[in-house]
Symmetry: none
Subunit: 201 residues, 4 copies
DNA sequence: AATGAATGAGTGTTCATTCAT
DNA sequence: TATGAATGAACACTCATTCAT
């Protein structure tokens, strides 16, 4: 990688980092490219040079999230040995880890799923595709659990995956809405406890 | 009520209904007053005549939510006799009822909590006030459960209330994001089952 | 005059008084009919009922000014016996009296002459007509003074009338711009002194 | 100065020139930024690019006036050797020169002093600051004249400065209101004559 | 005599986007 | 690689005006 490529990468990273921060703080629509560019110590022109449009920038963030957040979560589910609940707990842990170390990225995903959830745009499609990977993986794990008898919870796979994601995303949102008020690790611990005996019971 | 008052009420209702619908579909920032006015079969001018500003219109929606959604939820928690879990289940049922009959209002509340959660504006304050009423009521119920021995779940009250709200809001979001894919009542039933044994266990 | 007529007159006076006050404070364009109506303890509708439009309301104010300000000034010039300077001093005294007792009306006239001076609208025409009566009367007095030898100041009548009005209006503006800072009567006294020896010299 | 800077300067000048013209013709409130932009052969967006807001544009015009009009006037007063009346005459000459060569700028200053005089906004503050520099300089000259005996006119310094500015501004307004009707240089000559013997007398 | 609901054109302002350099 | 000038469409908001009552 030559000097040019390095500087390119640095600039792109500056922009995506700034974009994550601003989008979460203010939401997609309320964030101007000017604000992102300023936060990245560059100009609007650069953002266009690298990403072409605001929408494409957001789609690029979706890709990052896919690689850094969703993939590890799916892997956690698929590679954890044990019962379905074990896999769910692993998923929640990976998520809450990301929520602690890269909170902006995880939050951005959840936030976008709400800001665009009911629409019919490329961005809405993009966010739904992220989620459907998660659903599929949870549902597969649940069905596997049913087959090998490690799960006795009776429900449709869709209801189960929705429930798991609901708990996970709801927890992340609460943690961030009440920042300062509540203790993150404690929240995770209790949610795990509830899910554990809840899904086992 | 004379003719004038009737037309007044009708216009205001048209506007608030339209606003709820549009704000949920597109979010607060992405919804123009023109769009709301058109949806309400009126003009922008009328919206200003009745509400004065976009922000005040949204705050008015918060008041409606307070009366129609949050108050019934708080009442359900406070007036249900029995254990803490019984109260939580009552809360979830009221919420899911509202989610079925007035889905836009409940969703609007959740959506706004995310679009404004981290900001410092009158709207952000308004939405946080709605939530803090809920938190307080759940925390009181939990502490009462501890005192009278109907609850053995050990956690800080804040973590408990966050968890409950997380499950509730997360469920509502999932239900709406996967509309058509999943069965609402079944989702509620399963969440109740999980919470029931999860918090009792 | 029956009860109805009395109430009509009172309402019209409330509106014109309010209009004078608001127009001076904020200027014609920056004053809304709503603001005037509120100041008059009536509604916009009433203003339209009585005056038909914002422009017509302003033209009505011009008529009031004609009767209460300009006519007395012209009379003072025409009925004062003595030299041209005596007449000018009489004019200035009537003006400064009006400036003390009905300051808003005189100021409104000056202000409008500037806000509309260079335009070609009914309002601009109206204000110019007010002034041209004044000019004519001063010029006649000056020419009379030249004929009967009571004036030795040599200039075109237009220059003289402009000068007199310039001093008068300029003085009124300064008095109002520096309200509190300067003493009105003293300003008038000094201006009279300057004009007296200046035009006689 | 590179090409960019040149185009920048040209655009800014086009805008400020257009703004001066339009503001005088129609007043501040009655002039839309669209009109200014069109007159400057640019778009509203450009005006915002360079000045940020209508108010800031006007404040920029105030700065120009400070440099091109008020400073020369103050300098004329301070650097003229001789009696107080000599200094006043110098001030009037500088002003009437500006009134001939840059009539729009001087008029703009006077006009704004009336449109905003009684208000409490940044623009009102700005215009008052322009005037207070003038007042101070005239008052200092008058007091110096009293001390060195070159002036025998007895009045408060404030009344004197008000009078001088009144005559100056009133003259400028009259000249412009009666454009075509009266002869500028003759007006100035006569005013000078009046002031000369008036203040000396 | 007076109100208040409703409108529509217009205003200041923002912002994604383009493009020459 | 990156900038900054410029645009145009959209936005929240204002306001003179109309009209049924």
């Amino acid at each position: 990688m030559n000097k040019n490529q390095i500087s390119r990468e640095r600039s792109k990273t500056q922009i995506t980092d700034a974009a994550f921060r601003m989008f979460i703080e203010r939401g997609y629509h309320a964030t101007s490219l000017d604000a992102i560019a300023q936060e990245a110590n560059l100009t609007k022109g650069s953002v266009y040079f690298y990403f072409g449009s605001k929408e494409k920038l957001a789609l690029h963030l979706f890709n990052i999230i896919h690689d850094e957040i969703v993939c590890p979560q799916v892997e956690a589910i698929e590679q954890t040995r044990g019962s379905f609940v074990d896999k769910v707990v692993a998923y929640i842990h990976v998520g809450s880890n990301a929520g602690v170390h890269r909170p902006h990225k995880l939050l951005f995903m959840i936030q976008m799923s709400i800001e665009f959830g009911f629409q019919d745009t490329p961005l809405a499609e993009g966010i739904r595709k992220l989620y459907s990977g998660l659903y599929a993986s949870i549902e597969a794990a649940y069905e596997q659990g049913l087959r090998d008898g490690t799960t006795s919870f009776k429900a449709t796979p869709q209801a189960v995956s929705s429930m798991v994601v609901a708990v996970h995303d709801g927890m992340m949102l609460q943690y961030n809405l009440r920042q300062g008020e509540i203790d993150g690790p404690e929240l995770v611990k209790n949610v795990r406890k509830m899910v554990l005996s809840g899904l086992n019971g």
